[in-house]
């Protein structure tokens, strides 16, 4: 036994032992989490496997940064094959001429190893460069790496860099030892060997091999020990955990967890809050209030997060705060340079100085009160893996990892984070789980929300308007729309139910949209009926703020009523109604075809039943705000564009963030319903729209409409904000003029 071998085998043993202990620790910790709804995370295994492999091989979710995608793909692939070189190095400690049995002489294996080693070298160099550039200190909070543990990432990168260099270097010397006969195997590394003086003795070369092999082993197992001791090092762990995490995503087809939310579940069972026999212990455990409430999948996802910051950089709340910090010249690409330099390190929300980015930040908004999905995930993760003497609440508690209420309630559930996350972290669901606990158990939430809840409870709409005002919107129509239960008895008599929605019924702008759509349907001969005083809120504001009890009450009553009325095809003008009716009512026995008005109008134009002409008022350029719940949560961004394209003489000028990458107006997630001193998302989005130079800002959701029109008023801008239905109505009218609001 030589010293090299002894040291090498010792670190190998230590490395694998640490890894085994840590894997055991992970399994233990994950299993301690409560169960998920049966089938929800493991059903359809083949589909899941296919989706995971697709993600793995195609790197779909990294496609927004093509250079990083390629570099990461190469680095990732090199890791797979270079594991074999670790075995090779172990053998070389004992015999410098060691070859892996069978594989070692196989030409293809050798070439593949070389190819991947070079590819890995190229890849990791790019990744290091990207991290240095995108994380440069002067970006401050505008950097996606702001608040990430940068030194952890640098350590991982350094390890990979060292390993691939050592692999190539070793092969260079091996090629000399192998003599000319073996050169074919070392097609791309032999030149390294030739850099050594040709008269070097075999003994010297052998010593080089053993030394480099030992170095490779030390570097590799040091990494193994370090990551085993640091379970919160997602930047290292994701290379293992991303696979199970993607496989167990909410959608078996591997799409991001958007659209409808999951029902309220405790211990693998859906909780019926109307059930009088509900166990008291279950009532304590609604939503996520403590680490013990986080399911195994929640925990797995938290451990998988690589702190890459893709979610942070697209979060409208974070963007809005960092843009404000760097002055009004907010660029659409969300990389505004921070101006003044105040060295600070970002803390995870309320947590320890999570960052070793010495980040300059102008008049720093403390990270503990600014929502970043990444920092929220890091805080939860540290909470799960941290050891606290007493369990402490996840939100608002004294723990250094507690999430502050400001952070929790700032989220608009826009889903940008979840759509951007390459490893399948499901932020929106996680945030809703936290909110559910705050509302259903702790009764601790923004005061303004209490009014909304009362309004929904008493008046079945968030505005608190009276049921008898439900049909006020229809005053001034050129015809009387049939009302279910008054003028018609069954929906079988008409093509569609027009679900006017609360905004359509009670908000002035929403009413204008509702009237415009009703006129258009009437003109094109589409028969429809509306609901009368029985109409109630779809429940989205309650569900997105965690009030599952209220949501269930509204949704089940609505679904019963709709089913009884024979509703099959429902038209909506609201992206939130669209999402809730189509994706969430099935949980209450309601299955409908829900059609957003932009889709229907585009079809009617296509069929020639509506013929748009020029718009009056000199409207030439229009920019369009994609509602998050239409474009991202429900992947519908084509119909509105088709519709705009069909109006002669109109040009669509896109904002930088559009389509499924749209930027939130600030009205989702219940944020429409209470005011606080937080960032004004609507204003920022409106500025982005105004910067396109368009003559009009078109929307397709009443919440976007309200938020952006209010922002326009605040900004003193005369850029009109209109719904697409209003645009079409003007375009089909002889004058081309818009109705006054």
């Amino acid at each position: 036994m030589n010293w090299f071998g002894l040291v090498g085998l010792t670190v190998t043993a230590v490395g694998w032992t640490c890894l085994a202990l840590r894997v055991g620790g992970f399994v233990h910790l994950f299993r301690a989490g409560p169960a998920e709804l049966p089938g929800s995370r493991r059903g359809q295994p083949w589909r899941r496997t296919a989706a995971m492999l697709h993600e793995f091989l195609a790197h779909r979710r990294l496609s927004r940064k093509p250079l990083v995608a390629v570099a990461h793909w190469l680095t990732m692939m090199s890791f797979l094959v270079l594991v074999a070189t670790l075995a090779q190095a172990t053998g070389q400690l004992f015999n410098p001429r060691f070859e892996l049995p069978w594989l070692g002489h196989w030409l293809i294996y050798n070439w593949l190893t070389e190819l991947l080693a070079w590819a890995g070298l190229g890849g990791i160099v790019v990744l290091v460069a990207v991290r240095l550039w995108a994380g440069r200190a002067r970006l401050g909070p505008a950097s996606r790496f702001f608040g990430s543990h940068q030194w952890r990432a640098r350590y991982v990168e350094a390890t990979i860099l060292a390993v691939v260099i050592l692999v190539l270097w070793l092969r260079g010397i091996e090629s000399v030892l192998a003599g000319p006969a073996g050169w074919a195997r070392f097609a791309t590394t032999a030149w390294i060997g030739r850099l050594y003086p040709p008269d070097l003795s075999d003994a010297v070369l052998a010593a080089w091999v053993s030394t480099l092999a030992l170095a490779k082993i030390l570097v590799s197992y040091a990494w193994m020990v370090v990551v085993s001791l640091t379970p919160t090092m997602g930047v290292a762990w994701h290379r293992f955990l991303a696979f199970p995490n993607l496989w167990t995503g909410r959608d078996p087809n591997g799409r991001p967890a958007l659209g409808g939310l999951e029902a309220l579940v405790v211990d693998g069972r859906v909780v019926d809050l109307e059930d009088p026999a509900l166990d008291e212990s279950v009532l304590e455990r609604l939503g996520a209030g403590w680490t013990a409430d986080l399911t195994w999948r929640d925990r797995l996802a938290l451990a998988t997060c690589t702190e890459c910051g893709r979610c942070q950089e697209v979060c409208p709340v974070w963007q809005c705060v960092t843009a404000t910090l760097s002055g009004p010249a907010a660029s659409d690409t969300a990389v505004p340079p921070a101006t003044a330099a105040v060295a600070t390190s970002a803390a995870a929300p309320g947590g320890p100085a999570a960052s070793d980015t010495a980040a300059p930040l102008a008049t720093a908004a403390p990270a503990s009160t600014t929502l970043s999905p990444k920092l929220l995930v890091s805080a939860l993760r540290d909470h799960v893996f941290g050891s606290e003497p007493e369990p402490s609440p996840l939100v608002g508690g004294d723990s250094k990892w507690a999430i502050t209420p400001e952070v929790l309630w700032a989220c608009t559930t826009c889903g940008a984070c979840t759509a951007a996350c390459p490893v399948g972290v499901e932020h929106v669901d996680q945030i809703i789980e936290l909110r559910r606990h705050q509302v259903l158990v702790a009764a601790d939430f923004p005061a303004g929300l209490g009014t909304t809840f009362r309004n929904l409870e008493r008046r079945s709409n968030p505005w608190g308007m009276l049921p008898r005002q439900r049909l006020d919107w229809a005053k001034g129509l050129s015809f009387e729309p049939p009302v279910l239960g008054q003028t018609i008895e069954s929906l079988d008599q008409v093509d569609y139910l027009f679900w006017v929605g609360c905004a359509g019924a009670f908000d002035e702008r929403g009413q204008t949209t509702a009237r415009a759509l009703a006129e258009l349907l009437h003109q094109s001969g589409v028969s429809f009926a509306v609901l009368g005083e029985q109409a109630a809120c779809c429940g989205d504001p309650a569900r997105r703020t965690g009030n599952e009890a209220l949501f269930a009450a509204l949704a089940s009553a609505n679904a019963d009523y709709l089913n009884q009325a024979g509703a099959k095809r429902i038209i909506v003008t609201c992206a939130h109604c669209r999402n809730t009716l189509a994706n969430e009512y099935s949980q209450f026995g309601g299955h409908y075809q829900v059609i957003h008005h932009t889709e229907l109008l585009a079809d009617l134009i296509n069929q020639g039943r509506l013929v748009p002409r020029n718009l009056g008022d000199g409207i030439v350029q229009v920019t369009y705000q994609d509602p998050c719940y239409l474009a991202r949560h429900n992947r519908q961004s084509a119909a509105p564009r088709r519709l705009l394209g069909s109006i002669p003489g109109l040009r669509l000028t896109e904002m930088a963030q559009s389509g499924d990458r749209t930027n939130c107006c600030g009205g989702g997630g219940g944020r429409m319903w209470w005011e606080d001193s937080g960032p004004r998302l609507g204003q920022r989005r409106f500025e982005q729209a105004a910067m396109t130079g368009a003559d009009m800002l078109a929307t397709a959701c009443p919440f976007c409409h309200i938020m952006l029109a209010d922002a326009a008023a605040t900004a003193g801008s005369d850029l009109p904000v209109r719904d697409l239905a209003e645009l079409v109505l003007a375009a089909v009218s002889p004058s081309g003029q818009m109705a006054e609001v």
């Binding site: 009532l283 259903l440 008493r458 009890a549």
Partner: protein
């Protein structure tokens, strides 16, 4: 500490309300817990959460009203009351404030009294604000009315009342009655947990016989205050604006005033 909170079930005024021919309110429509009563419930909840949990504090929600009034009790239980007491008797219908306070006093005595009685400053329907003072008089305890906040220290209660130009702080020994306005701490919207647990809390129902009161002492016939008639209030119509930036603003204003006979017509100055 034993706290009794008086709650009332009132018609949903916003939705609309009607009077019967005899001038009494038609209570057949939708109703709810009187909104102002949520403030004493919130105050009670906060008081018992401050007091050492071991010192067995109870909050009892007490109401006098028809069967439907149980809904007000239920809401009170959701908002933190531990127990509900509902005095329900046909004979009580049509009572005036004196009659109602008589029933409440008897009920409170039946319950063995209380250290602190809390109530809203007035009810949304009759809005007389008489019950708190009449009840305190009948129980011979001090009353601090119209309070914006209260605090209990030892055996005393301190209440703060806000008037247009002063803040008045008063203190009195317990037992006492305090009525609260909507300047007090905002009521918390109950959690689903609280709503669910409220269903399991007891509600006791008593009639006049249980309280030892004769039916003739209350109700319509015993009422000494009679409602003579009810007229809907005259609705104000929206004001008119005269654009001051226009040149003929003064003329327009004068014309408006004259046309509405608000200034003498003709030059009689």
């Amino acid at each position: 500490m034993k706290i009794i909170v008086l709650v009332k079930y009132v018609p949903d005024i916003e939705v609309g309300y009607r009077f019967k021919p005899d001038g009494r309110l038609d209570r057949s429509g939708e109703g709810l817990l009187n909104q102002l009563d949520e403030y004493p419930l919130e105050a009670a909840r906060r008081l018992v959460s401050q007091v050492d949990a071991a010192a067995d504090s109870t909050v009892t929600a007490l109401t006098v009203g028809p069967d439907e009034a149980e809904e007000a009790i239920r809401r009170a239980l959701q908002m933190g009351a531990d127990r509900g007491v509902h005095i329900c008797d046909q004979a009580i219908a049509g009572s005036d404030a004196l009659g109602t306070s008589l029933v409440l006093a008897a009920a409170i005595n039946q319950l063995g009294g209380a250290d602190l009685i809390l109530c809203g400053a007035s009810s949304a329907d009759s809005a007389t604000s008489l019950i708190p003072v009449q009840l305190a008089a009948r129980l011979q305890i001090p009353a601090l009315t119209g309070a914006a906040s209260l605090a209990v220290n030892g055996a005393q209660v301190t209440a703060c009342r806000l008037t247009d130009n002063a803040m008045i702080e008063s203190r009195t020994p317990l037992p006492a009655l305090v009525s609260l306005t909507d300047q007090a701490e905002q009521p918390t919207y109950p959690s689903a947990k609280a709503v669910m647990l409220a269903r399991r809390k007891p509600v006791e129902v008593y009639d006049l016989a249980d309280l030892g009161l004769a039916p003739s002492s209350v109700g319509c016939d015993a009422a000494r205050v009679k409602v003579l008639g009810v007229e809907p209030a005259i609705r104000r119509v929206g004001g008119r604006l005269v654009d001051a930036s226009s040149d003929d603003a003064v003329a327009a204003l004068v014309a408006l005033l004259r046309d509405n006979a608000l200034i003498p017509v003709g030059g009689g100055a």
